[in-house]
């Protein structure tokens, strides 16, 4: 455990326990597409389009979706690695980079990220100990303290400091490197950790070890996770709440058991049935979705899922559905879905 001597980095709880740690409202990011010299029309990739969500303290929000649906862009927008076109973020009751709110440097200390590619996210010319100690010294921790803290963290993530502290990233295996990335993120004593496909590149047996480590650390340090993955099993294991994205928009959001047991959006249903069955006697006979995810450049009007949806209606082609509570269960549920089928039932 980290001793109190390192407490200088720890940020106090600003709001109460009921205050969501992170509140995101109407986040939007369009990337311009380079077009020809003579084409007048400007085209945009609608990477993230009006995404809103909140994460409660000590909970994990899972974000799932196919590649190109905007999961990672959302993570980068939240971490302010790229700036949003519009939208608002509130961290523990304080607006992020707003007058009277939380400053960017302070916010970044509270929020850390672990990326998919464990090798590309480590500096190849720094030893592991230097890598982990670097961040805290930037935030004003004396070098020797940062170093001893780095060794404690290495021990905690299961890498013996005597053996590993002076090694370079290329001398480690993928699983070990990902542990270093986790240790580096924790060195800032963050409250929110964004895990962007953090276990996707690992072998199955190593993946289970890292998932266990993440769950233990969450308990010990009261962390809040934003867990991004395309692996539905892993999301189910890690998350308390799940948000399903399709082409830059949130199509369904709710508690993990509700999403997995009674999915309301046709896309969520299809994703769930695309999981290979583990029973050779019950093989999948028909692919649940035809075709590839459509092009996010200038997506169609109306519902973005219309071309692949088995229940498509005329309404879907003209009006885009908004997130509403799932109606057939109870009016106050936290389970929301953006689908005209759901809204049809309400009428």
């Amino acid at each position: 455990m980290i001793k109190q001597t390192h407490s200088t980095l720890i940020s106090e709880d600003r709001g109460g326990p009921a205050q969501p740690l992170l509140l995101v409202r109407d986040l939007k990011k369009y990337f311009p597409v380079r077009s020809g010299l003579f084409t007048k029309e400007k085209r945009f990739v609608h990477a993230v389009d009006n995404v809103s969500f909140s994460v409660s303290k000590g909970k994990t929000l899972g974000i799932v979706g196919e590649s190109g649906c905007g999961k990672s862009t959302t993570a980068k927008l939240v971490a302010r690695l790229i700036s949003a076109d519009s939208g608002k973020m509130v961290f523990d009751g304080d607006g992020v980079v707003e007058y009277g709110g939380i400053a960017l440097k302070e916010f970044r200390k509270n929020l850390q990220m672990v990326f998919q590619d464990s090798f590309a996210s480590l500096n190849p010319r720094l030893t592991i100990e230097q890598t982990i100690a670097y961040g805290p010294t930037v935030h004003g921790i004396p070098a020797h303290e940062a170093k001893s803290q780095a060794r404690e963290l290495l021990q905690r993530v299961g890498l013996s400091p005597d053996q590993f502290a002076s090694r370079y990233p290329h001398e480690l295996s993928g699983g070990q490197r990902q542990r270093v990335n986790i240790a580096r993120a924790l060195a800032y004593q963050p409250r929110l950790v964004i895990l962007d496909e953090a276990v996707a590149a690992l072998d199955k047996s190593v993946q289970a070890q890292v998932l266990n480590l993440l769950q233990e650390l969450k308990q010990e340090r009261q962390l809040t996770y934003l867990f991004i993955s395309h692996d539905l099993h892993v999301v189910h294991y890690m998350s308390d709440e799940v948000m399903v994205m399709y082409l830059g928009q949130v199509v369904e959001k709710g508690p993990v058991e509700r999403i997995f047991n009674t999915p309301a959006h046709p896309y969520t249903k299809a994703l769930l049935s695309a999981i290979p069955s583990m029973n050779p006697a019950k093989r999948t006979l028909k692919p649940p979705l035809e075709g590839d995810p459509p092009n996010p450049i200038n997506p169609p009007a109306g519902c973005r899922f219309q071309d692949r949806c088995p229940h498509v209606m005329d309404l879907c082609r003209n009006v885009s559905p908004v997130l509403m509570n799932v109606t057939n269960i109870d009016a106050f549920s936290e389970h929301t879905v953006a689908c005209h089928l759901n809204q049809g039932m309400r009428l």
Partner: protein
């Protein structure tokens, strides 16, 4: 095995680059005509090395290959250059993990497929084109006529993998090697490709060796599964027996470390440690350092594959 299309006996592959690595240490297996065999294992277990050896894709200078590979009566390891050209693509062909890298970016899909076809068969241009179009339709590429003239980068990941499959099957090979064909794809597209492979296999009656680290994908397509670890096959059996009645502790560990819906709220079962370094393999059973049931015999003697009940496994202390 009777009527085996492929017989691999005691295949050993050693890379002698800057550092020596024993990538395969004695792999033997058969594939019957019309059978789908999955090689399942983690990175570095030798699955891809096995496939590449079957096509002799390793650089000859820095690789030492021992053992024998017989495909359809031909001894692959002793083919000369001309025979090898005929063998590759015609008897055996391969699908790679990254279709974006496997295609030549400066030629269209159609040109590349026509080239492959004309290299093996004596056809005039219009017949060749008709064959290519037919193949593109067969792998369910919509608007095949239009796709014939597209470049690889213009296709999406799933479409590119379909085109890759079409390219591999254009000469009607008897053996198809699929090296993690769905790993780079999204789940919804992965299942489409798996079903397509299964369907094409049924139609053509070819044999398939499917390499993956995803047990779910293996169960979806294969007849038999061979589990590999550190350059050896540690357990082999039909799909149902591997899933339900596996005896090797590594197979058991792999199956248990899969995250399922029932795991929520409890820690996952894990295999401690990491796969061994191929440059310095432990003596005896390579899995012994990570095995909970390891005894002194395990670190001194290497177990051989033995058939008992449902599966064959190489272990001194199998799980009951």
């Amino acid at each position: 095995m009777k009527n085996a299309l492929l017989k691999v006996r005691d295949l050993q592959v050693e890379f002698n680059g800057q550092r020596k690595a024993q990538a395969l240490s004695g792999v033997s297996f058969d594939v019957a005509a019309g059978e789908v065999l999955t090689l399942l294992g983690e990175s570095g277990s030798g699955k891809s090395v096995t496939l590449r050896s079957l096509l002799r894709l390793h650089p000859e200078k820095s690789t030492r290959i021992k053992g024998s590979v017989i495909v359809d009566g031909q001894d692959v390891l002793s083919l000369n250059a001309k025979e090898l050209n005929q063998y590759r693509g015609r008897t055996t062909s391969m699908i790679f993990q990254e279709p974006g890298l496997a295609f030549d970016p400066v030629y269209t899909i159609g040109q590349q497929m026509t080239e492959a076809l004309c290299a093996h068969e004596d056809l005039d241009a219009s017949t060749a084109k008709a064959r290519v179009l037919e193949m593109l339709e067969r792998v369910q590429i919509p608007q095949a006529r239009k796709r014939f003239d597209t470049f690889p980068h213009e296709l999406s990941g799933g479409m590119r993998q379909r085109a890759m499959i079409a390219l591999a099957l254009i000469c009607r090979p008897k053996l198809l090697l699929a090296d993690e064909p769905t790993t780079a794809l999204d789940a919804s597209v992965q299942i489409q490709i798996l079903l397509l492979l299964r369907e094409l296999q049924k139609d053509t009656g070819m044999s398939v060796i499917f390499v993956t680290h995803d047990i779910g994908a293996a169960v979806e397509v294969s007849d038999r599964i061979a589990v590999m670890y550190a350059g050896r096959i540690v357990e082999v059996g039909d799909v149902a027996s591997i899933v339900d009645k596996s005896r090797h502790p590594y197979t058991k560990g792999l199956l248990e470390s899969i995250v399922g819906t029932e795991n929520r709220g409890s820690p996952l079962a894990t295999i401690t440690g990491a796969p061994p370094n191929l440059m310095n393999l432990p003596s005896g059973c390579s899995f012994a350092p990570r095995c909970q049931k390891a005894q002194s015999k395990c670190t001194s003697q290497t177990p051989e594959l033995e058939t008992k009940n449902a599966t064959s496994f190489a272990c001194w202390n199998p799980v009951a």
